[in-house]
Symmetry: D2
């Protein structure tokens, strides 16, 4: 931590600041510049982060030096984390494709989605049972019944299941059917929920919040890791910006940034990340080219009848066509797609 | 709902679109312009909102006409909602000042905060027992013990209590001690939590999410209202923008906007909304001038020792000084501050 | 400047970094922490700011300590700058109200706007002759003829004139008629234009760019100051955020922030800053309460006939009503409004 | 244009609105819904766009139906525009790679940059002579001398030249040396400059402004086109968001969006768009995968000595490595890179 002293600070104020920092257990390194004096505080930075040092009279600014996350950082683990979900590897050479409808509406539709998705590169079946919806008048999901359908369809095609958990009280029922627990963007800073999934053993798919910086995103993962679960899959799904042509702005730059500071796998969700059909194909290719470890894509057997997100879902045929192109890009960047 | 037809749509496509809309139960009004044909669909717009009309071949755009919220809108209730919390009126002529520390750290400190806050205009005591913190290494709150302290301190000075609920499993314990249940910014779209507070009777203080538009904010309130509880106090607490000098950007313009479309009271939180001590006073005055029904201000007897948000807390003396100026502004806009 | 060294940097890399910094003329202060070594570089920080120190092998991060602006900062001048425009003081106790239409459409309308504005607190007449418009199909302003009308109307009512300069080639003609040269938001980083107005003597009204941080804004002012002209009036007019209910988000927090680091006067423009009539009154009051030195308000004798921005213009009667309330707030914060 | 009528509008108000709209020359289509009456105004929408219809008593909202741009839209020209610059095609099957240093610092460096760039896929040499810099204390470019160097280096390697124009007064000197005139992000709404480049014949490279929506971006292009020059190359170079890990957020989704509504070619600039070396390679690949017609990449023979943007420049060797991977991706999406 570096403390910048105001140019008009008195000697007494500086003495008080240094005594205070020493009393917290820090060693100090004082550097007098032409325009400002700065103090380097050497010791556990996270402990100091919460101290209201900025309020001390004579302090102009307090600048952290270290990254605030540890367990999810490359400092903690150098090599890439590869997560094994019943034999399906996430974070390795093979791209992880997670496909399926936004919400499960019947057994027939999830079965058909699983059939088509598994036939073309997807080993993870996605589908919502509990849907967080902006409006209370929108379809909120079928609930537990949908979980049974989802599991059944996945099993039939040898897929693993990812589905969203929205309430700590649902963890047992959701865990009974799911292989990967998804934390949605709106719950990225629902810390109580993060702690729950951190205390159990199933892998967690953590979606980036709409207003989360990369730092916030990794700190949310750290909340999970700190409870004991390091099997975390990050998912970029768009951030909120002033642009309104797309529902969100898919921030693909975060992929190389996160790869450089964290060992966790990261996938991209171009369906939610753009909300526009015309973008899903191109942004799927772009995500893989940028280094994503996988894709989450909404596929609906009949988007015209979908009860949620139909506008951004691909038909199985459109999905096939996107996956054909994804395979070529995967090859170009040294990745593979499951056969 | 207005459906814009692509200029290259075929007659068959247009027929299919109109048949589809009629099958949903809408009456149609077709208007052929020079460059585009548009179809007005007359009927329940919310039902149509979820239909993936945009995916129909030949459709260029779908434009909603009505506001998506109902119960919280002025269409539903013309006059301002005034909420009565044990005799304390929120939304009336008297400004509602909610003051206290970010988190409760001991009985002594909350007692002292209550003493000083109640002496100067605050009838609502705030304080966190369960703290959602970006980093898992920050102080997460004292938990249930803090609630006892908070209640005791409030009672001693005749104040009512507002505190944050972060988990549906805590609703009984929090309700036992609190008069107003706060939903924090990070949980604004934790719909399961919204439904819980919507099903009970205590008033709810709903903070605006960092990436929530005014529409999202009112829809979150609608989630609560739709479960039966219309005693909702909105709270503007800053949105996330590119500006980094302040922790968030306090969007005071949302106050007149919301007042024009909703009957709910709205207060402002300049402490979290700016995160900078130098802004708290000026932005408190500005919020009242803009029409806010109250203020939420962090007051800590000894900010230098605070375990959270010390940098943005006022000392009781600083609070007094801000409140002296708030009183003058309140008078200037026809409001009062409690004696 | 603080240079953070990567934990895996070799001794040779560190030597190279320190030699490089010394060769630039900096004295160094090396501080070895538990997890990172940091180097404080003492000397002219602005010179170092442009050096690509981050590219040196072994460097993790480079953190500036000083503010990048000088002449516009409080370090350079402690007391508030008060600008005298033909006897009209900007930045003093009296609020500077600048009122008039978005664009000048005829002599009659600017005469009527001047008559009504001058009758109620405004000593500065605003009006556009050259209009930067998002669409090429919108009215682009009357050009030079409008300047003659503007000057004549201002003179008749003893007002001074502010109008926008959009092209360095217009500086002579605009200077002939205007007392204050306005640089619009879209040109805030048109540095060639900034340099031109920096080399002449008339005061400059500099509007904040839609994507400008406070730092960018003050650096734009520094571009003007560095050419010799310190008579700069800053104007907050809204930044671009995800919120779409208002045209921009008026960032009033920037007023106390800027007041704390700069000596320049700052006013607010709630007309462009919100683009919504319902917000103009409340945000005018809020700006004054937050410490603004003045207001820029669009007044049009007949908004229904306006050729630009009619939706956000006040009628003279509405303007009177807003000014009545501004006067009360001004009094409450120790300011005055001209009689 | 659709006009939404307030539910409490009187018959007289509605009559006034309809008379007004008819007086502007519009045909009307009135549609009475359950909750709102809406009026479709049939006629030239751009003419109505500037009319302050929202101010008419009884009007709740005014919703435009048509896109505000014409000449740059696919409605105007169905097929992709391919621009021929002295035989170099931009917008065709072959990717347009524009490489070179941020600013030209000497003949030797631009010569070396041209040698290496032309050897690996770049047919366009970029380099700044007049640099718009956020701080007045940063290097502002060498000026006219740099143009001579740039031209000479390009000619030696058979490249064409793109360089930025920042002032209408420089158009003759810049045109003398450049083949493509670049309008920088900060000048995207410097309409006077846009009109100048619209009135001459050389192709224009228009960079997206940091706070420009896709609509604003295309309207800026329309300003150029409306003056007669349709040879416009769009360039996505990052927008301003809350994320601070990257200098800007490169919005690749805008590529498929723009391709779907406009016939103009669009390239991406991952150097300015991310400002981080670790992102340049991955985002170059991603841009090509997303459908970009080319790339603008900063290459500096010795980034450690660069006077501007050294932190985000590639060395020639790094550039070679990125281009090797770009070639593979190009092949995967059916594009080619020049040999």
């Amino acid at each position: 931590m570096v403390i910048v002293i105001r140019p008009d600070a008195t000697g007494e104020q500086i003495d008080f600041i240094t005594e205070k920092l020493k009393s917290y257990g820090y060693k100090l390194n004082v550097s007098k510049g032409v325009e400002r004096t700065i103090i380097g505080a050497i010791g556990d930075e996270n402990a100091l982060r919460d101290r209201p040092v900025k309020t001390l009279p004579g302090v102009e600014d307090v600048i952290p030096i270290l990254k605030p996350y540890k367990l999810v950082s490359r400092d903690f683990r150098k090599e890439d984390t590869v997560i094994d979900v019943k034999g399906v590897k996430i974070g390795g050479k093979e791209l992880s494709v997670m496909a399926g409808p936004c919400s499960i509406e019947s057994y027939e539709m999830i079965h058909e989605a699983a059939r088509r998705a598994s036939a073309h590169g997807a080993k993870v079946l996605r589908g919502g049972a509990f849907k967080p919806r902006t409006s209370p008048y929108s379809f909120q999901g079928m609930g537990p019944e949908a979980l049974i359908y989802l599991r059944k369809a996945a099993d039939e095609f040898g897929m693993v299941v990812v589905t969203e958990l929205t309430d700590p009280r649902d963890i047992d029922i959701v865990s009974e059917y799911a292989d990967i627990l998804q934390i949605g963007a709106r719950n990225m800073q629902n810390f109580r929920l993060l702690h729950e999934v951190g205390r159990q053993e199933k892998p967690v798919l953590l979606k980036r919040g709409m207003s989360a910086t990369v730092k916030d995103f990794l700190l949310a993962a750290e909340h999970i890791a700190n409870e004991g679960n390091l099997n975390i899959i990050l998912c970029e799904r768009g951030i909120r910006t002033f642009e309104t042509e797309t529902r969100n702005t898919l921030d693909l730059s975060c992929i190389p940034i996160i790869k450089s500071v964290s060992h966790l796998p990261i996938i991209a969700d171009p369906s939610h990340g753009t909300g526009k059909k015309v973008c899903i194909g191109p942004m799927s290719l772009a995500a893989v080219a940028a280094g994503a470890d996988g894709l989450m894509i909404e596929v609906h057997p009949c988007p015209e009848e979908a009860l949620s997100d139909g506008d951004q879902s691909l038909t199985p045929d459109e999905y096939d066509e996107v996956m054909n192109r994804v395979e070529v890009i995967a090859g170009a960047v040294g990745r593979t797609v499951a056969k």
